[in-house]
Subunit: 306 residues, 2 copies
């Protein structure tokens, strides 16, 4: 059930045995956690490539700078942590101009200011040949009052919820999304989140990751999935909502009691929707609108697919 990226990540994790006292969270979650004296800090790194994660023939450098920062901020949100600082590395194309650097910078700073995550350093290299633009953001965060929320904490009987509307991100949202960091911190304050991650590769891939790491299964209800307007424009809106990458919404699980409380008290503009339940069997199933139960194929976005 795992895709290429998960397989490599698992292999890496198996090669690195980190002492839990110094590294409470290691490879395989949205961020790693490092103990520093009585404090701790979390770190994530994301590499974005022209022609893979964006396309500079249609996207602006301002949008790319924003997206790169926002994707890492979304990782901070995924664990209900507070962004602290970012460092940005870029590989400039051979003909990159100063003006282009300023455009890129303005996008980086738009996200930096909006989500209070200062840019504190970086590295700039330049291709000698005609190779594509690359941007990497590494970001630090700190735990909110609560512990960081992991992928591995889902419990049988948990409700499965998402923020926002899903699918069709490719029509524009993937360049201008709002990472749900404020929502994540609010959620963590209101209820006890058992597990959480951000939706970067589609529910079908990402919920599978929560299930695998938590050693549980899931049953989701097709008619509960909040399908975005953009997904509605596609041939199969439900498929789009299940499989499209880069929604950057939150996927989380919590007890039924906390879920009821949340649905009742949540008054943010970004909706929260219960879409299913964590089950005992290690299958991942979907109940179709006609009542039929199907096994979901994992075919969310695989960054390593050939």
């Amino acid at each position: 059930m795992t895709n290429g990226e998960d397989k490599i990540t698992s292999w890496f994790a198996s090669q690195c045995s980190l002492p839990v006292s110094d590294f409470p969270i290691g490879i395989g979650d949205d961020m790693a956690q490092i103990r520093i004296g009585d404090e701790s800090v979390l770190i994530t790194t994301d590499i974005l490539l022209d022609g893979v994660h964006f396309d500079l023939s249609t996207a602006t450098l301002e949008q790319v700078g924003y997206k790169a920062m926002a994707a890492s901020i979304s990782d901070c949100a995924a664990m209900a942590t507070i962004p602290l600082a970012a460092v940005v590395s870029v590989a400039l194309t051979k003909e990159f101009s100063e003006d282009q650097i300023k455009q890129l910078h303005s996008g980086v700073m738009r996200a930096s200011k909006k989500y209070s995550c200062p840019l504190v350093g970086g590295d700039i290299a330049k291709w000698k040949k005609d190779s594509p633009f690359v941007i990497n953001v590494a970001m630090l965060s700190k735990p909110a009052k609560n512990k960081p929320v992991r992928r591995s904490g889902a419990k049988v009987g948990d409700c499965i919820c998402v923020t926002g509307m899903l699918g069709g991100s490719i029509f524009g949202k993937h360049l201008d999304f709002e990472p749900r960091v404020n929502e994540a911190i609010k959620l963590a304050e209101m209820v006890e989140l058992h597990s959480m991650m951000d939706l970067s590769d589609g529910i079908s891939s990402d919920l599978n990751r929560i299930c695998t790491q938590s050693k549980v299964g899931a049953l989701i209800e097709a008619d509960k999935i909040p399908i975005s307007g953009d997904a509605q424009r596609t041939e199969n809106p439900l498929e789009a909502a299940l499989n499209d990458g880069e929604d950057f919404e939150l996927l989380f699980t919590l007890s039924q009691k906390d879920c009821e409380k949340l649905i009742e008290q949540w008054n943010e503009s970004v909706p929260v929707t219960k879409i299913g339940t964590i089950t005992e069997q290690s299958d991942f199933q979907i109940k179709m609108p006609d009542g039929q139960v199907k096994y979901i194929q994992v075919k969310g976005f695989d960054h390593l697919a050939k």
Copy 2:
């Protein structure tokens, strides 16, 4: 006197005003420092490109993995800080194999183990087209007992010193160097370092950075420069020792009294050599073996040169 990279870095720094209480060290040093409660952490990021920082037609992926980690460990050394953890991002080529990932990983882990800097996470993307391999390492460190040593602390009258032998790194050392992190910590314990950085672009560029940031000048003595065996193989060994990039040795300044003490008491296998003096005038001069004084042209390695 500044090259392309410095110009962009200065521009970035001018755009980001960071509160010193939260960010004691911001853009423009080897690492940025972030306060976290009563503790602090430093962060650096380095992007390395096939065809620019290494050449996969001659270097192995094991060497590239080692070099990427060691370059960041050298940044930790540059400020006399202790490496804590690393995250690695890679852009794999279209035809990358699992076996190649294992080779890369073994190089990363060789540096990780040698310098006690665990790999705690990462990101893996893959080119869709025929584009070159990229690796980015972001690394955290913590201050040793003393404060991190900055570039901006050089004082008029300081002795200028370097570790190791300089020049000709391209003949092999650039793929298999030993970042001077243990030496840096030992130096910081023995004496009060006024300024320090690691030599990534050659003395002519890097000493100029210390001078610019410290608002001082420098006079170095040609016949004191420790010229490596590899630099001796070149047409102009002195030029090679002054201008070649990627020596990854330490360049530092300290009081004359501390310098005398250091030269007398230093008993590590890596040599420490006094090569000159910090001066009042904001020029950067070199005294040739015949006694003639020349102004040094800044022509060290510029990663952004066309």
